[in-house]
Symmetry: C2
Subunit: 317 residues, 2 copies
């Protein structure tokens, strides 16, 4: 069978898989990224691609392409990673060229990580068959992807869909992108932890002790056990999320909004305040037609989506 | 030559024209809408369509369709006007059926007024050849339209592109749509007048006397003559506009943003604060590639765009 070698890398891990044309994930693995230098990451990506090519060969699969989900803005020709706050690179990095230089001999497709996650959820996840799907990955940051009639929305220069960087509160916290009050700065896992720590520091009480290892997951657990402060923090994130989604509904008129990323298991803690804002702020004719649902594919969405993109591109040739 | 009978109606006026396939506006006129009742408006639209059909006939033009730009959300099948705050209609109004009942015998194409204005500016105005064009009509309200590769962005249910109803300040002024702090509530002509009057009431000084007839136009004139308060009010609108456009740039990655509507002649008064916010808030890689420019077709954009849409739809059959 025809397969795609699919990779999805971020600041922490490189996920990898082999995906068949019909959307079977034939194997899946994960390794630490291990470096914040693009050239080192390219070394590792190239090595993993070759290892998976070997594996595919052993299994008598026909690897037709490799596909890579990458953080950051990507150039129109889908070769250069422009900006990615997690990596040491002042300028731009030509990942395509770097992989070719490292003897990757398959067709290479590079796409933004949230974009491939959106395609994955469209192909095999929560948003199957959606006409207009919006995905947000709620994690350390907030990524976004838009799929229209099965294809990625890329805008005029290939950089569209940065939905984590819409301004929700013009006077809000500073964001990694330089803006103030971005959705990412107010509703990401990072924001949840920051707000929790700030509240404790200012004298609010919680059953959860603040330590350096505390993360959104621990705060979510505390909230589920009834911790009032933890619940409030998630409710506030849900409010910001709802404000942003209401605007996106009025702009995009989607039929499905999928919430993925590390925070998506906390969907239940975000939902009521989020829904309240949607109902207050978006046109009811659009709100009543959109489903807002948690993602289904977890950390494999990007692997599926990158493969889907590669098969789609190859079939267009 | 093949022509389209094109109409564009709002709370105040019905604009009308005959447009050729190559985009010549063969005649143009304007009549008061005269009623806030949909059935009355339908009477008038039907009468104007028939009159223009006659005129086209006299001139030996071949009228192939009529096209109508309408305020409000429009149903997926483009027949029913769902909501339009300027008209007395609690429920939905089937404009298509109403025109057929009034013996309009041409193919009928109905589209949101800001959407047809966006198509008009794409076809014959400021945004010729744009890959991804965003248009905002800055008037009494703020409408929006998105054109991608020459086609309207309609979303999953035909209602997308309501760009005037993105939340810019969650705690901002109430909007006609029910939300708080929409772009429309903060940066429309209505908002400019409201903020000016409020400032005068609270004791601020201006060379411009407040009267009931004062409009955004008079305030713009005062600003150009150096009136400090009037300048500040426009600068604030430009700030809100910039915040909203920065988010749209990050979401849509457009190559052209066109500002039309009654406020567009005040572009010079909005521009500096708007540009400041764009540069502060949107990804520089996208901002440096987008042109933000005033509309070119004035109050005729919708007439051109509705005709373009009709020709486009007929060629798809």
């Amino acid at each position: 069978v025809n397969v795609v070698i699919s990779l999805d890398y971020g600041g922490t891990a490189i996920k990898e898989g082999i995906v068949s044309e019909r959307g079977k994930l034939l194997c899946f693995g994960q390794t630490p990224t291990g470096s914040t230098k693009f050239s080192q990451v390219a070394n590792k990506l190239a090595a993993r691609i070759k290892a998976l090519q070997e594996l595919a060969k052993e299994r008598k699969n026909n690897a037709v392409a490799c596909a890579i989900g990458s953080p950051g803005l990507i150039s129109y020709d889908r070769k250069i990673i422009y900006t990615s706050p997690n990596f040491e690179s002042r300028g731009d990095f030509n990942l395509y060229k770097a992989l070719r230089a490292r003897k990757v001999n398959l067709p290479i497709f590079i796409e933004n990580d949230a974009n491939v996650a959106a395609l994955g959820e469209y192909w095999k996840g929560a948003g199957k068959g959606a006409r207009c799907l919006i995905l947000l990955t709620l994690g350390t940051g907030i990524g976004g992807g838009v799929v229209v009639d099965g294809k990625l929305w890329l805008g005029a220069h290939g950089m569209g869909g940065e939905l984590g960087h819409v301004t929700v509160d013009p006077r809000g916290a500073k964001c990694g992108c330089g803006n103030y009050g971005c959705l990412e700065a107010l509703a990401s896992a990072t924001a949840v932890v920051r707000e929790f720590k700030k509240a404790i520091k200012s004298g609010e009480e919680s059953g959860l002790a603040v330590s350096s290892e505390i993360g959104a997951k621990e705060i979510a657990e505390a909230a589920r056990k009834g911790d009032v402060l933890a619940k409030e923090i998630f409710s506030k994130s849900g409010t910001y999320l709802g404000i942003a989604l209401a605007s996106m509904i009025n702009e995009f008129d989607p039929d499905v909004i999928v919430l993925g990323g590390g925070m998506s298991p906390a969907f239940d803690l975000l939902e009521s305040s989020m829904t309240r804002e949607l109902n207050r702020r978006a046109f009811s004719k659009m709100v009543e037609k959109v489903k807002v649902i948690p993602a289904k594919l977890g950390n494999k969405a990007g692997i599926y989506g990158a493969a889907f993109l590669a098969f789609q591109k190859l079939s267009e040739v």
